[in-house]
């Protein structure tokens, strides 16, 4: 449904997008993520026909993006969608439906359906008197008045409260279920992780990672093993190579403080577990009063070596937890390569 080949945009000496290639299938929700200035919005604007590419080709629903006819099958939602504040939602949406040559009766049905699905009341109130969330819903409704095949949403939940954000993201997912192809960017990577079938990660105009969130995690993410022992094993070092974790950290924790400290750590892990991470030890307990020593190692070989050392020292391994990095951590890892591996 969307095809991009060698897409490049230059502004003088500055290259905003450098030879992007990707394809988006019908009914797919495709995410574009990256830090500020990565080229996300430029890519989206090229695909919506707002900006001419310097090089490369891009087609949307079979139309070249520079073909004005493409805009008839496209619904675009910019990051900021300031409305004509002296208009009402109905007059605003009717105008755009008229502009897209939608018959009056059909337009009325679509507008009513979109506003209803987004739970927008006060349809005859002045837009200037509406909250940001309500305005955003009107803007999203506007992107649907022409019943487009492809939707390009730039930060659809930008600046919205969590409740409205959830509603908007759910709506985006429903649009994909209806057969719409959705391309959207977001700064909040949890949104991308939740909604997108596939994503590309952009950095300084280039695509540096692509695939499903799982694929990207497998490629770029690093699983950590948190091993808890009853004796300190400071001499234990990783055996998987210094390129994964440079040093292991052994933390000695007195029983009282240790319990609290350990509890905090477990609280952190629990939060990650809630997101679906694996590997929490079955007998781990946050309120345990005995001393526990935590060592972080990169792989199972190091875990085994650690267990042998602990046993040799008269102790034992009481808990092992695996922690998968979130997509956000992977993104940060990719976006800031100079900092090395995540800790």
């Amino acid at each position: 449904m969307i095809s991009v080949e060698g897409l490049t945009k230059r502004y003088g000496d500055f290259t905003a997008v450098a030879g992007s290639d990707f394809e988006v299938a019908r009914g797919e929700v495709f995410g574009v993520v990256g830090p500020n200035g990565a080229g996300k919005t430029t890519t989206l604007k090229i695909l919506s026909g707002l900006i001419e590419p310097s090089e490369g080709t891009a087609t949307v629903a079979g139309y070249d993006v520079e073909d004005a006819a493409m805009r008839s099958v496209l619904g675009f939602l910019p990051e900021e969608s300031p409305l004509y504040e002296d208009m009402t939602p109905l007059s605003y949406l009717r105008f755009f439906a008229d502009l897209y040559d939608v018959p009056r009766e059909t337009a009325h049905e679509r507008i009513d359906a979109a506003l209803s699905r987004l739970d927008l009341e006060h349809r005859t109130r002045r837009l200037g008197d509406m909250s940001k969330g309500m305005k955003r819903k009107v803007a999203i409704s506007r992107s649907l008045v022409n019943d487009p095949e492809v939707l390009i949403y730039d930060e659809p939940a930008s600046g919205l409260d969590p409740l409205t954000t959830n509603g908007v993201l759910k709506f985006v997912a429903e649009l994909a279920d209806d057969g719409k192809t959705v391309l959207f960017s977001a700064h909040n990577l949890y949104h991308v992780e939740d909604v997108c079938d596939r994503v590309i990660v952009m950095l300084e105009g280039e695509i540096v990672a692509r695939g499903t969130v799982g694929e990207i995690r497998a490629t770029h993410g690093t699983i950590e093993y948190h091993v808890y022992t009853t004796v300190p094993v400071a001499e234990v070092h990783t055996t998987a190579g210094s390129n994964v974790i440079e040093e292991t950290e052994t933390v000695a924790e007195p029983s009282g403080d240790g319990a609290r400290s350990d509890g905090e750590r477990q609280q952190t892990h629990a939060t990650r577990d809630e997101r679906g991470d694996e590997g929490t030890s079955a007998d781990a307990s946050a309120g345990e009063s005995s001393d526990r020593y935590e060592t972080v190692v990169p792989d199972m070989a190091a875990v085994e070596a650690l267990r042998e050392r602990a046993t040799a020292a008269g102790g034992e391994v009481v808990d092992i937890r695996t922690v998968e990095p979130s997509f956000e951590e992977i993104f940060l890892d990719i976006a800031t390569p100079s900092t090395g591996a995540s800790s």
């Binding site: 003088g12 604007k45 919506s48 026909g49 707002l50 900006i51 001419e52 004005a68 006819a69 805009r71 008839s72 496209l74 675009f76 910019p78 900021e80 969608s81 300031p82 409305l83 004509y84 002296d86 208009m87 105008f95 755009f96 008229d98 502009l99 897209y100 040559d101 506007r142």
Partner: protein, 608 residues
């Protein structure tokens, strides 16, 4: 540009998109007004208009701030009572010396003597009374059936065009050159503007008779036409009332452009217009749709004013291009400005310039052909029931139509996401607007040709400003100004192309662009042939302005290609500088002006 315009005009679907946007703009703009503010504005304008109309309708003599300011004690039976009653300044009171002492009257008319209070006011009242008596006597004399007996000396006034006449080295004052000898020049050409041929049999000048046609002339009590009085009262014909009425056409435009500019800039504020850009309409349709209601509004208001003041189709046809130019200048300003403050500054500057450009020349509607550079002159003539030829209409309005069109073309070029929401200084945005129209090298020639309306306007304005100065000063300055204006018109877009990265900065490219610009400008310059259609070159400065550019009489045939060579060489010089740097361009531009001015002086001295 041409393809876009063609596609807009040829495609009903695109036209319907324009109309939809126009309808939306109309309803949205109307909905954005506070009803009480509208009502207040209408009432205020109505009152102001009513006051002005009442003043004009009642005649300038009846509108007096000093009405009844002096009290004259005069008996109702005295012949001076009618004098006092006929003067707006004087008020009649019963004659009494006591009243003079108490200050109740300023002057007392007694039996055979007139006594004034010994004060400043008393002396002023006496002077006013004498003037009123003189005017009363004049009125009586004019009422005499035997005019020759009343005024045994008749003087015919004719106003001659100033000419260069002999040559600049004559050293005479401007007034001398333009005086008696001017008539000789006209006579030699067999094209007398005003002499006995223009004079009616009764010895009065038809051009000045009755001021502007059916409307009375007002000229400090002047003696134009059949008026009478002392020689000190003679003043050039001045179409006061027609001018005031013509000015009424300009007033609504200042309101319309403010609304229009706000609407256009509003699209740029907070990227609001982005959504229109992703709709299936082209930028030219958006601009046309948003402009149409304001243009039609201007035309309708113009027609209504014409109806109210007695103007005809000519008045409306003359004012519409002014409105178009106002809107076009405002549109481009709204594309360049970064804020409403900046927009206000630019639009006010444009309004003042355009108002001055159309109003000041119209003041000379009855005496100088240069007045035709303003379409308002056509309105003045129309209000005076004088005819306007098609050539005069083309000459007056052509630059406005063309300038308006070019301004819209430039503004539409940057009506796109990459320019619309970019905050850059106005001059840089202007360069962007020029650069946006440079799609290929030959676009340079096209832009050079399109600069002609502005060059033409600037040169005509220079003539209008300088023609009152003595020739020995005005002509050299004019030739220098012309060189500067033309070189700018030929080179600024080349500089924009280089700074915008549209062209590589090689010497060969600069040479090609310079030659293309020179050719384009030369071809476009032929439009100034229009100047001859209405006889502007009969004016000495007009000849100086347009003859050196290759448009002239038979004696210049041998030099037909010289202007082409000049334009190519000077444009080439500027292009070479522009390809280097900003400083390089400025230096090269100055050199080009020097070469061009040198050429102008040489040709003027040799030919004119």
């Amino acid at each position: 540009m041409r393809s876009a315009l063609r596609s807009l005009l040829q495609s009903p679907k695109r036209l319907s998109g324009t109309l939809r946007i126009a309808r939306w703009e109309l309803t949205r703009s109307a909905g954005g007004f506070d009803r009480r503010a509208i009502a207040f504005t209408i009432v205020a304008l109505g009152l102001a208009g009513g006051a002005v109309a009442a003043g004009i309708a009642s005649g300038p003599g009846d509108v007096a701030l000093d009405r009844n300011v002096y009290r004259v004690g005069v008996d109702a039976d005295s012949p001076y009572h009618e004098v006092v009653a006929g003067s707006a300044t004087l008020a009649a009171r019963p004659p009494s010396v006591d009243a003079l002492e108490t200050g109740e009257v300023d002057v007392v008319v007694g039996d055979g003597e007139i006594v004034a209070d010994d004060s400043e006011k008393g002396r002023a009242a006496l002077t006013a009374f004498r003037g009123a008596t003189r005017a009363y006597n004049d009125r009586l004399m004019r009422a005499e059936e035997d005019g020759v007996a009343a005024f045994p000396v008749a003087v015919t006034l004719s106003y001659e065009d100033r000419t260069l006449d002999r040559d600049l080295s004559a050293g005479g004052g401007g007034s001398e050159i333009g005086g008696a000898s001017g008539a000789d020049t006209d006579a030699d050409n067999g094209d007398q503007v005003s002499s006995s041929d223009d004079t009616s049999e009764d010895g009065t000048d038809e051009r000045s008779a009755g001021g502007t046609g059916g409307l009375p002339a007002v000229g400090a009590g002047g003696v134009s036409g059949t008026d009478s009085g002392s020689p000190a009262d003679i003043a050039p014909p001045f179409p006061f009332e027609s001018l005031v009425l013509a000015f009424a056409f300009l007033v609504p435009m200042n309101f319309v452009v403010q609304l229009y500019g706000s609407s256009m800039l509003g699209e740029r504020t907070n990227r609001r217009g982005e959504l229109l850009l992703v709709a299936p309409v082209r930028p030219i349709e958006i601009v046309a749709g948003k402009t149409l209601p304001y243009f039609l509004g201007t035309a309708i208001v113009t027609a209504l004013i014409a109806l109210a003041v007695g103007g005809g189709v000519v008045s409306v046809a003359a004012v519409v291009p002014i409105g178009l130019c106002f809107l076009a200048a405002t549109f481009l300003a709204s594309m360049l400005a970064r804020s409403f403050t900046e927009l206000t500054f630019v639009t006010v500057a444009a309004s003042v310039f355009l108002t001055s450009y159309v109003f000041v020349p119209a003041v000379f509607a009855d005496i100088a052909p240069i007045a035709l550079i303003s379409p308002l002159t056509l309105v003045v003539r129309d209000l005076a029931s004088e005819s306007v030829s098609l050539g005069e209409y083309a000459f007056s309005t052509g630059p406005f139509y063309l300038s308006g069109l070019v301004l819209f073309v430039l503004g539409t070029g940057i009506y796109r996401e990459e320019d619309l929401f970019t905050q850059r200084a106005v001059p840089l945005k202007f360069l962007d607007a020029l650069c946006a129209r440079l799609t290929r090298r030959r676009s340079v020639a096209l832009l050079s040709a399109l600069s002609i309306p502005f060059v033409f306007v600037a040169e005509l304005l220079s003539i209008a400003v300088l023609f009152a100065l003595p020739m020995e000063y005005s002509v050299p300055v004019l030739l220098l100004v012309i060189a500067g204006v033309e070189e700018l018109g030929k080179s600024i877009h080349i500089y924009a192309g280089f700074t915008g990265g549209r062209f590589d900065s090689g010497t060969r490219t600069a040479l090609v662009l310079g030659v293309l610009s020179g050719i384009g400008f030369f071809v476009g310059e032929k439009a100034t042939l229009l100047a001859q259609a209405v006889g502007l070159p009969e004016l000495a400065l007009g000849r100086a302005a347009f003859v050196p550019s290759g448009v002239g009489g038979i004696e210049l045939v041998a030099l037909a290609l010289a202007p082409l060579a000049l334009h190519c060489v000077t444009a080439l010089i500027s292009a070479l500088g522009a390809s280097r740097s900003k400083r390089g361009y400025l230096l090269a531009y100055l050199v080009a002006i020097g070469v061009h001015a040198g050429y102008n002086f040489t040709v003027v001295n040799a030919v004119v």
